[in-house]
Amino acid sequence: MRLEPINNPSFARKLVPPALALSATILIASLLAMVAGANPFSVLGLIIKGAFGSKFALLETLNRATPLIFTGLAVAVAFRAKFWNIGAEAQLYAGALITVLLGTGALAWPSGVILPVIALIAVFAGAVLLLVPALLKTRFGVDEVVTTLLFNFIFLLFISMLLEGPLKDPMGMGWPKSARLIPEASLPRIVDGLRLHWGFALAIISALCVWVIQTRSTLGYEMRAVGLNKQAAGFAGIPVNLVLVKTALLSGGLAALGGFSEVAGLKGSLTLDLSPGFGYTGIIVAMLALLNPLGVVIAALFVAGIFVGADSMSRAAGVPTYLADIMLAVALLLMVLAIMLTRFHVVRD
């Protein structure tokens, strides 16, 4: 078999493969639920109900989506330029680390000053953390996939070291946990009484900013050009390495902002379980969104919904929560296949 590009894909051609991918994902999840001895319809119903079925569930989903929007944006920006940042996990922790370093009493300023200052320094820290793999790539040709992946392990151990050492909360009953943020360094709730903080709004604003950068700025154009064809971009006079470094700074900064938002908005302190893999899940979010920054918001809500829904489904139906991770992995693989099939014929020879 071989692949032949379709010049003018019809509307059906654009719609049918992704729809089939989604249906197949649901089918596979149903089969797995049956393997676990549960009724697949009630399992899927419980997931949807647990994610969007009540005000509490919906707020929980929005909260869970917030860090995923940041990491999803970080990945989307980087992957667009074919810079494979798999290290959003570490960059998120870098932002969280800065937040507790500066927000637990080191700076005693009013909210309006301290929050933007911490956010900016957090962005800077995440950007610097990704700068190392970026420079290793542009200077030495070291593949960034492996370096960013390995950085995740190194940086988490570093955080663990700090939490058991200098950052350990003396009032923490021996747990490896940082001190709590001062009230001025905490992000307020958007509406009083509703458990949703300004980090969510910041995530939406970030998505809009990234969308503007990608579609309306020279940098966005250069990033796309580098991603499509490095050689051609170089011939056209685009400074490829510089664009890659700028991409990395933006990507690392976005992921770090997610760490800031998660600590300042939700958790209030830093622990080693701050992120249950938000950095890695960001890859799924970005791919499901086809690397579109506004799509990232929708994909993050969808992915967060599956996670939150699966948690409550698991408690009710006794099916392991890992069903959510399987669904997302299957959705990811089938979706990249489906997207390809909207643009290519498979020809037998």
Binding site: V142, V146, M161, P320
Partner: protein, 314 residues
């Protein structure tokens, strides 16, 4: 104990060889995939699946070698999935690889929770036991270090030679290497690039899974979450470090494992006890990055690595 003294104990080198074994299996697996032109980032998840599948098979009553076969079979299934998506369909090897890692890891954990819903601590199996090779194991230092290992370790080192011979001394190996260097030439010979690449990924993924199975069936005797803990990513670095050659990759794995065994022992010395243990745990990852930086300059990357091949396209 002084660090120099540690280097001259048989138990240290025995540990190094033991730690190197799963890395050798998985590095060989990744090397075969990459030699044929396919980067397989599914390695981490495939190792998890192999670790569970092999152990679970033995726990359910099969023999140890059957367990190894089961692990290999599960790995090959994930290899089939990976290669179907990346070779004939030419999808991004980065995205598919990460997707396969996620799928293999989560479905393994799902299966574990279904198979053993009630357990608090994972049950143990009777794992592979060390086998002292007659005569050779009597050599001082070398005997207890190298020739008193489990059969799975011997298999790992034998495989290095086998993979090297096949790659460099057989038409099949030539075809695999050519598929990674110049696929158009392979197609011009009337061979199927698709079949060669898919076969390489499937076999390679099987070896990765055996590397995972080594953890639960030889190094330890039960399955834990997070057990593989980045070993797959380290193997990808080892392939680069070994310049895509089985022998050099094996040396890299042993060197790496020796360093790992050393840091465990230094941790227990009086000086080591004053350093946070996380510093020692970081070392393998830092070492991998340094190795990549040093080797990348003169790396002989397969020319068609990560380049999909579509017949009829020029």
């Amino acid at each position: 104990m002084d660090i120099i003294d540690i280097l001259f104990t048989a138990s240290f080198w025995a540990a190094a060889i033991r730690i190197a074994s799963p890395l050798i299996f998985a590095t060989l697996g990744e090397l075969i995939c990459e030699r044929a032109g396919v980067l397989n980032l599914g390695i981490e998840g495939i190792m998890v699946s192999g670790a569970f599948a092999g152990w679970m098979a033995v726990y359910s009553g099969t023999g140890l070698w059957v367990g190894v076969g089961v692990a290999m079979g599960v790995g090959m299934l994930f290899g089939l999935l990976h290669s179907t998506l990346t070779v004939p369909f030419g999808l991004s090897q980065h995205v598919v690889g990460l997707g396969v890692t996620l799928l293999a890891t989560s479905s393994t954990y799902y299966a574990y929770r279904l198979a053993l819903p009630e357990v608090t601590s994972p049950p143990k199996i009777v794992a592979f036991q060390p086998y002292e090779i007659p005569l050779l194991s009597d050599i001082p230092l070398l005997g207890p270090a190298v020739f008193s290992q489990t059969p799975l370790t011997y298999l790992a080192f034998v495989l290095v030679a086998v993979v090297g011979l096949v790659l460099y001394r057989t038409p099949l190996g030539l075809a695999v290497r050519a598929a990674g260097e110049n696929p158009a030439a392979v197609a011009a010979q009337g061979l199927s690039v698709t079949a060669i690449r898919m076969g390489a990924v499937i076999i390679g993924s099987g070896l990765m899974a055996v590397g995972g199975a080594f953890l639960t069936m030889s190094a330890f005797d039960s399955f834990f979450f997070e057990m593989v803990n980045g070993r797959g990513w380290i193997c990808i670095a080892l392939v680069v470090f070994g310049s895509w050659r089985p022998g050099k990759a094996m040396l890299g794995a042993v060197l790496f494992a020796a360093f790992d065994a050393l840091q465990i022992r230094v941790q227990q010395t009086s000086i080591g006890a004053q350093v946070p243990y996380q510093i020692f745990l970081m070392m393998p990852y830092i070492l991998s990055i340094l190795a990549l930086v040093v080797m990348s300059r003169r790396a002989e990357v397969p020319a068609a690595l990560m380049v999909p091949f579509n017949k009829g396209e020029r």
